[in-house]
Symmetry: C3
Amino acid sequence: MVYHFEAIQAFSRSALPRLDIVATAVFAISGALQAAKARQNIVTFAFFAAVTGVGGGTVRDLLMGAPVFWVHTTTPMAVCLVMALLVWFTPTRWWPHHAIDWFDGMGVAAYGVYGAAKAQAYGVPWLPAAVLGVVTACMGGIFRDVLANVPSIVIRPELYVTAAALSAGCYVLLAACGVPQLVATTIAFAAGFALRGAAIRHGINLPAYRRS
Amino acid sequence: MVYHFEAIQAFSRSALPRLDIVATAVFAISGALQAAKARQNIVTFAFFAAVTGVGGGTVRDLLMGAPVFWVHTTTPMAVCLVMALLVWFTPTRWWPHHAIDWFDGMGVAAYGVYGAAKAQAYGVPWLPAAVLGVVTACMGGIFRDVLANVPSIVIRPELYVTAAALSAGCYVLLAACGVPQLVATTIAFAAGFALRGAAIRHGINLPAYRRS
Amino acid sequence: MVYHFEAIQAFSRSALPRLDIVATAVFAISGALQAAKARQNIVTFAFFAAVTGVGGGTVRDLLMGAPVFWVHTTTPMAVCLVMALLVWFTPTRWWPHHAIDWFDGMGVAAYGVYGAAKAQAYGVPWLPAAVLGVVTACMGGIFRDVLANVPSIVIRPELYVTAAALSAGCYVLLAACGVPQLVATTIAFAAGFALRGAAIRHGINLPAYRRS
């Protein structure tokens, strides 16, 4: 495992790590909302927020052999706990319809981009880097749904993994074409979130398997 | 990742690692009892005992970047297999009512303390250290329930994550106040186990989310 | 964690790593077939193929502290995607009955052997090495079933974990007796696959727990 220290340092100094905190926060909200739906107590709220918020990024860091991002610093976990409190004290009716899905969708687009970008900074080739983006994006939601004992979001009948793949794939492609990082990040995030948003609102999907 | 070698060595020489074996053993029993409930064969018994017994500690070690505790030594896995045999040869009626829950509860209290203590010995700050205690405590039971295809124990309508958080939180707080390790460990374990025991026996819970 | 560099190098130059690709491919097929059963789209096919294909090996590498086998190279992930396409374009009726189980069974036998062998090359003692073989063999199928929200394959009423344990156990035993690696690998793979095949075809099982 060769670490590319300069690439990693440049990555750490860029604006991208802020995406990590944004993705953690919106996933944490979706986790706490799931706990609200299941009528849990405040501690279980915090547990759902933490597992959903940091779950995807944890898997990403373990897979690429990086130190897990929330273990050696306090901020990400504090963000999860604050989001849990926020959801606890907000009446359900203040949240938009399908709020779990919308916050989850923001997280998917953000982590699709960020997972792929962090993997590339650590010297992972483009195909596994894009896959790491997809995995980072989808795992938080999978953990949340397995914990809550509801069917996992990836098998719902509207686009989900595809939106994650669009975010991660766009970023890897644009970065390979030499597009500046901020532009590549913005386009890739917007594309993934727009696709997932359309899927939530209109239930769109790719053609399903129908051979017999 | 800075390893604090002296703290780690002092930790290894203390009495705490025995808690790890105790937690492994009681979780392994709860896993084997779940396999008994599902009328599995002896090999699946051993699988459930092993996954439940070492599952939480495995996640903890991976997250903090420590070598996984059962991979480079034989004892923990041997303990799991012996517990599987023990459960296999014991008639169900000899076990107390809710035996899965009681053994699981001992494991939760022991791993809540031990997970937090090991994380602090590895230089993890107090908030993520306490969270690692909670994760260590809850993951074994979650793996057991997901494997057995029953709703995960964390969403049951009585305190669970809260007991883990009490153990881990107590230990971190008492250690920060300079209380000697053995005393801190004993109080934190007793507090978590008493709370989980009360939850099992009387179904107590914190107020659930009720806003609309 | 002492790495045994010469043993690891000899292992990398042997024929065994081909087993890893074979196991990845057959597990990826079983994952894609599960996606076909659930009438998913092509991207979710690829996701199921990837998670099932590399899932077990990923857990194995994380547990033994080795770099995850598909992250720093492109082949394993490319194999998963090709298998997903293959299943997508093949009519369901061309597959044999219980095709998911048969491909899964090949993967179980191959990963049982390979997981144990890789662990021993990394200096893991025989008992945890055999357990790592079993875990590698069973995790891909467990991930596939949890994702698809069907009861996990390990609790089905016919031998599964036992076949994985036979493969891994045979290999560890034969290797300890000094049997040449190719012979040990072949016998261990054949034994595990034959047992799992008999279980699929005739529903055989060990006696279940019946004490009351």
